[in-house]
C-alpha cells in the first residue's frame, strides 16, 4: 500500500473508531436508545433519572451508559398512577437458587432500583417479588432473560404488557432531590 493510501486508510479508521466510541454500530440498539428521548431538565443524570424506562437498554453491554446493570427497573405505588414507591425491597431468585444479599436491592426515593454484576449475576430464568411493608406482589411468571422491567411492564396495559410494576401501598415519606412522580410514561 502506498504512503498516501495508508494515510487515508488511517484517517478513515480513526474516524470509525471515534464514531464507535460515541454511538452504537447496531441500528436496532441505536433506535431503542433514541426512542427513550432526552433527559428531563428537572432530573439530572443519575440514580433518580428516567423512572419507568427500560434501564438496561442504555445500561447494558452496548451502552451508551458507563454503568452496566444486570437488572433494573422502577416500582410504582399504584396500578393507575406513576408515583414511585421508595424503600420497597425487590426479592429475586434465579434458576440455580441464588439471590442477591438480603436487603441489598431496595428502591430509592423515585422507585428506581438497579443491580450490578458485582452484586449478583443471575442465571436466568429469575422469579421476582416486591415487598413494601405489609404489602407485596409476586410476578405471575418468570423473567426469561430481559434485565429491564419496563421492556415488558410498559404502559398502557395491553396485549403485550401487564402495565407498570407496582405494589399497592402508601409511599413512605422520604426526602428526595427530585419529584417522585415519573416524568415520562413507561
Amino acid at each position: 500500500m502506498r504512503p498516501a493510501a495508508l494515510a487515508r486508510f488511517a484517517i478513515v479508521a480513526s474516524g470509525l473508531l471515534a464514531a464507535g466510541g460515541s454511538c452504537s454500530f447496531d441500528p436496532v440498539h441505536q433506535n431503542e436508545v433514541d426512542a427513550l428521548g432526552g433527559e428531563q431538565p428537572s432530573v439530572p443524570q443519575g440514580e433518580f433519572h428516567r423512572a419507568g424506562q427500560p434501564c438496561v437498554v442504555c445500561h447494558g453491554p452496548e451502552g451508551p451508559a458507563k454503568t452496566q446493570f444486570v437488572m433494573a427497573g422502577t416500582v410504582f405505588a399504584a396500578p393507575d398512577q406513576l408515583v414511585g414507591l421508595p424503600q420497597a425491597e425487590v426479592l429475586l431468585v434465579d434458576s440455580l437458587g441464588s439471590s442477591p444479599p438480603p436487603g441489598s436491592v431496595v428502591t430509592n426515593c423515585v422507585g428506581n432500583f438497579f443491580i450490578t454484576s458485582d452484586l449478583w449475576n443471575p442465571a436466568f430464568p429469575v422469579r421476582v417479588a416486591v415487598v413494601s411493608g405489609q404489602n407485596g406482589e409476586q410476578m405471575i411468571g418468570h423473567i426469561g432473560r430481559d434485565g429491564s422491567c419496563a421492556d415488558c411492564h410498559k404502559d398502557p396495559r395491553g396485549l403485550d404488557s401487564a402495565g407498570h410494576v407496582f405494589v399497592a401501598a402508601v409511599p413512605p415519606k422520604v426526602s428526595c432531590p427530585v419529584d417522585n412522580v415519573a416524568q415520562v410514561t413507561p
Partner: protein, 178 residues
C-alpha cells in the same frame, strides 16, 4: 471460435432457457400437495384434568421477553404473556388462555418445520431433529440458553407428545412453576 459454432451454442442455450421457462410457467397442479402428519392437538390442549403440552410451553418459553413476542416464528400466546387479539378486552396477566390462543400456539409449533414434524410423528426421525427440541436442550444455539434438561419432565412431555406417546404426568409436572 467460428461464427457458425457460436451461433449453434447460442441457439442451444436459447432452447434450454425456453424449456425452463415453459416448465416454470406450467399451471400449478392442485393435486400436488405436501401432506403434513401432525401431532395430537387434544393432547397439546389438555383438558380439565390435564395441563396438556401447551401449559408448560407457555410458562417455560412464552414470557414476553422470550417467545411471547409477535416477531418470533415460534410465537406463544398465553394469559400471562402475549395475548391474541380479542374482543373480550383480555390483556397480559388477565384471565385464562383462550381456545384460539392454544390453537395458535399449536399451529406455531407445527408450522416451524412441518415436514420434519411429520417425519418425527411417523417415527422416521428422532424428536431432536426438530428445532423446538434441539434448541431448548442446548443441542443447537439458543439465545435463551438451555431451557430443558434431557429427560426432565418438560423434555419427556414434549418428546413423548411428538412421538405420539404423550406422558401426561410429565406434562402436568412440567406445567408447575418451579
Amino acid at each position: 471460435m467460428s461464427a457458425r459454432r457460436l451461433l449453434g451454442r447460442l441457439a442451444g442455450a436459447a432452447l434450454l432457457c425456453a424449456g425452463a421457462t415453459v416448465d416454470c410457467a406450467a399451471t400449478p397442479d392442485p393435486g400436488q400437495v405436501t401432506v403434513v402428519v401432525t401431532p395430537d392437538f387434544a393432547a397439546f390442549a389438555g383438558d380439565a384434568n390435564n395441563a396438556g403440552v401447551h401449559t408448560f410451553l407457555e410458562k417455560r418459553c412464552g414470557t414476553l421477553d422470550c417467545h411471547g413476542q409477535t416477531g418470533r416464528p415460534f410465537r406463544l400466546f398465553s394469559s400471562g404473556g402475549l395475548r391474541l387479539l380479542n374482543d373480550a378486552g383480555l390483556t397480559s396477566g388477565a384471565g385464562t388462555d383462550t381456545a384460539q390462543e392454544i390453537y395458535a400456539n399449536y399451529q406455531a409449533l407445527v408450522g416451524l418445520q412441518p415436514e420434519e414434524t411429520s417425519r418425527v410423528v411417523n417415527n422416521e426421525d428422532p424428536p431432536s431433529s426438530l428445532l423446538v427440541v434441539a434448541k431448548p436442550l442446548g443441542l443447537q444455539t439458543h439465545k435463551g440458553g438451555q431451557a430443558l434438561a434431557p429427560n426432565d419432565s418438560g423434555d419427556l412431555c414434549l418428546e413423548g407428545w411428538l412421538m405420539n406417546k404423550v406422558d401426561m404426568a410429565a406434562c402436568n409436572d412440567a406445567a408447575q412453576e418451579p
